[in-house]
C-alpha cells in the first residue's frame, strides 16, 4: 500500500470517527428513545383498543411503514418548508427517524403485549390492581422482555440507517466521509473505512444486546 493512501486512511480515521461519536450515535440514541416512547404508547393504545386513538395509530403505522425512509426525510426537510415549516437538518432527522422507527417498534411491542398470557391481567385484577397498575407492573415488563431481542435488532439497524441523513445535509459519519473523499478522491479506501466504523458500532451494540438478554434471562428464570 502506498504511503499517500496509508496516511489518508490514518488521517481520515478521526475525521470519520468523531462525527460518528458526536452525530451518528446521538442521532440514533435520541431518535430511538423517542421511538420507544411512541412505540410503547401506540402499542398500549392498540392493546387497550381505545376507540379513535387505535385507528389513528393504525393510520400512522400504515404511513410510516409503507413509504421509504428516504422519502420521509425529503418530505420533512425539503418539502415542509413549502408549507411554512423549516427545520434544521439534525432535528428534521430526529423527527423522521423517531416516527419511522416508532412505527416499526410499535408493532413489535404490540405483538409482545398480545403474547403475554391473558391470565396475567386477570391475576392482576384479582389481586385488586387496576388495569393501568397491572399493565405497568406486570404486562408491560413481560412484553418488553419478549420484545427486547427484536427491539435491539431495530436499534442496530437504525445505526446504519442514519447514514441516510446525509441526504438532508446532516454531517454524520457518512457525509463526513463523502466530504473527505471530495478532496482526496479515494472512494474505495474511504467507503470501506466508514463501513468498518459502522461495523464497529453495530458489533458493540450486538455485544450489549447479549449482555442485556443474559441479564433479563436471569431475571425471569429459565423459562423467561
Amino acid at each position: 500500500m502506498d504511503e499517500r493512501l496509508l496516511s489518508i486512511i490514518i488521517d481520515s480515521f478521526p475525521k470519520i470517527l468523531v462525527p460518528g461519536l458526536l452525530v451518528t450515535l446521538p442521532l440514533t440514541a435520541i431518535a430511538f428513545a423517542f421511538a420507544m416512547a411512541i412505540a410503547v404508547a401506540a402499542a398500549l393504545v392498540q392493546f387497550a383498543r381505545v376507540p379513535v386513538a387505535t385507528q389513528l395509530c393504525r393510520f400512522y403505522i400504515w404511513i410510516f411503514r409503507g413509504t421509504p425512509l428516504l422519502v420521509q426525510l425529503f418530505v420533512v426537510f425539503y418539502g415542509l418548508p413549502r408549507a411554512g415549516l423549516t427545520l434544521d437538518p439534525f432535528p428534521a432527522a430526529v423527527i423522521v427517524f423517531s416516527l419511522n422507527e416508532g412505527a416499526y417498534c410499535a408493532e413489535t411491542v404490540r405483538a409482545a403485549l398480545e403474547a403475554v398470557p391473558a391470565g396475567q391481567l386477570e391475576a392482576g385484577y384479582c389481586a385488586g390492581m387496576s388495569y393501568l397498575q397491572t399493565m405497568r407492573r406486570i404486562i408491560l415488563p413481560q412484553a418488553m422482555r419478549t420484545a427486547f431481542p427484536s427491539l435491539s435488532n431495530s436499534l442496530i439497524a437504525m445505526v446504519k440507517d442514519t447514514s441516510l441523513a446525509s441526504n438532508i445535509t446532516v454531517v454524520e459519519m457518512f457525509r463526513a466521509t463523502e466530504q473527505i473523499n471530495a478532496t482526496v478522491y479515494e472512494p474505495l479506501a474511504l467507503y470501506i473505512e466508514v463501513g468498518l466504523v459502522y461495523l464497529l458500532f453495530s458489533t458493540a451494540l450486538t455485544w450489549l444486546q447479549g449482555v442485556g438478554e443474559r441479564r433479563l434471562g436471569a431475571y425471569q428464570g429459565k423459562g423467561g
Binding site: A127, G128, R137, Y219, G221, K222, G224
Partner: protein
C-alpha cells in the same frame, strides 16, 4: 356473606348459566361440583367480574349489585375483598414468589413495603414455601406455584377465596400438597368457594355443596346431606361415577 341470584350468561347463542343461585355464608367451604362444561368456571368468573354476566344479582356483605351492569369501580372495590386461585396458577411471571404475594398489598392496597414483606413471608411460610421466596414461577413446580398462588390469595386477608379447580393442572403426586394447604385454610375458618373434581377433598372439607349440570343447579345444600343422601338421581349418578376425573 355472598349470595348470587338468578345469574345468567350466554356466549354468543350458547346459554352457559341459566339462572343460577348460590349462597355462601361466612366460614363456609362451599364446593361446586358438576360435569365438564356445566358452567362452573364461568360462574366463578362472573362472580368476580372476570366475565360480564348478562343479568343476575350479587349480594356481597349485604351490598347488592346488578350483575348486568357493575361499574368498574365497584368491581375493583369488591375484588379487593376477595381473592381468586386459578386452575393454571397465573402467578406474575416477572415477579418472585415473595413479590407475587406482596404485589397486591403494595400496589393495590398501598401497604408499606416492609409490612407487606412481613405479611408475604408469613403467608409463604404458611404454605410451606419459606425456602422459595426469591424463586421465579418458572423455577417452581406446579404444586409450589399453586401454593404461592394460595399464599398470594391469603395475604390480602380476603373475606372469601374463589378456587377454580386448583389441582386439576397438577400431577397426581402434587395435588396432595395443595389440598393439604386448602384443608388447613378451611380449619382456620377461611370462607372458600371451590370448584373441584376432587370428590375426596369435597367430602371431607366442604360444609356446603352445589351440584351443577348444563348451566343450572341440580341440587344444593349442606355438604353432608348432598354427599350422603342426595335428593336427585343425577347427583347420585355423578357421585357414584366419581365425577369426570375418575
Amino acid at each position: 356473606m355472598l349470595e348470587v341470584r338468578n345469574i345468567r350468561k350466554s356466549f354468543g347463542g350458547l346459554e352457559v348459566l341459566k339462572g343460577v343461585d348460590l349462597t355462601v355464608s361466612r366460614g363456609d367451604v362451599a364446593v361446586i361440583l358438576g360435569p365438564s362444561g356445566s358452567g362452573k368456571t364461568t360462574l366463578l368468573r362472573c362472580v368476580n367480574f372476570l366475565e360480564p354476566a348478562d343479568s343476575g344479582t350479587l349480594v356481597f356483605d349485604g351490598e347488592e349489585f346488578q350483575l348486568g351492569h357493575v361499574s368498574r369501580k365497584d368491581a375493583a372495590r369488591l375484588r379487593k375483598k376477595t381473592a381468586f386461585v386459578f386452575q393454571n396458577y397465573n402467578l406474575f411471571l416477572n415477579k418472585t414468589a415473595l413479590q407475587n404475594v406482596t404485589e397486591g398489598l403494595i400496589v393495590a392496597r398501598k401497604m408499606p413495603r416492609a409490612q407487606a414483606e412481613e405479611l408475604g413471608r408469613r403467608a409463604l411460610d404458611r404454605v410451606g414455601l419459606s425456602g422459595r421466596m426469591g424463586h421465579y414461577p418458572s423455577q417452581l413446580s406446579g404444586g409450589q406455584q399453586q401454593r404461592v398462588a394460595i399464599a398470594r390469595a391469603v395475604a390480602t386477608d380476603p373475606e372469601i377465596i374463589y378456587f377454580d379447580e386448583p389441582t386439576s393442572a397438577l400431577d397426581p403426586e402434587l395435588t396432595g400438597e395443595v389440598l393439604a394447604v386448602m384443608r388447613r385454610l378451611a380449619e382456620d375458618g377461611m370462607t372458600m368457594l371451590v370448584v373441584t373434581h376432587e370428590l375426596g377433598f369435597a367430602r371431607t372439607v366442604a360444609t356446603r355443596a352445589v351440584f351443577m349440570e348444563d348451566g343450572a343447579v341440580v341440587e344444593a345444600g349442606p355438604a353432608r346431606q348432598l354427599f350422603e343422601n342426595p335428593g336427585q338421581a343425577r347427583t347420585r349418578a355423578f357421585l357414584q361415577t366419581g365425577g369426570p376425573s375418575a
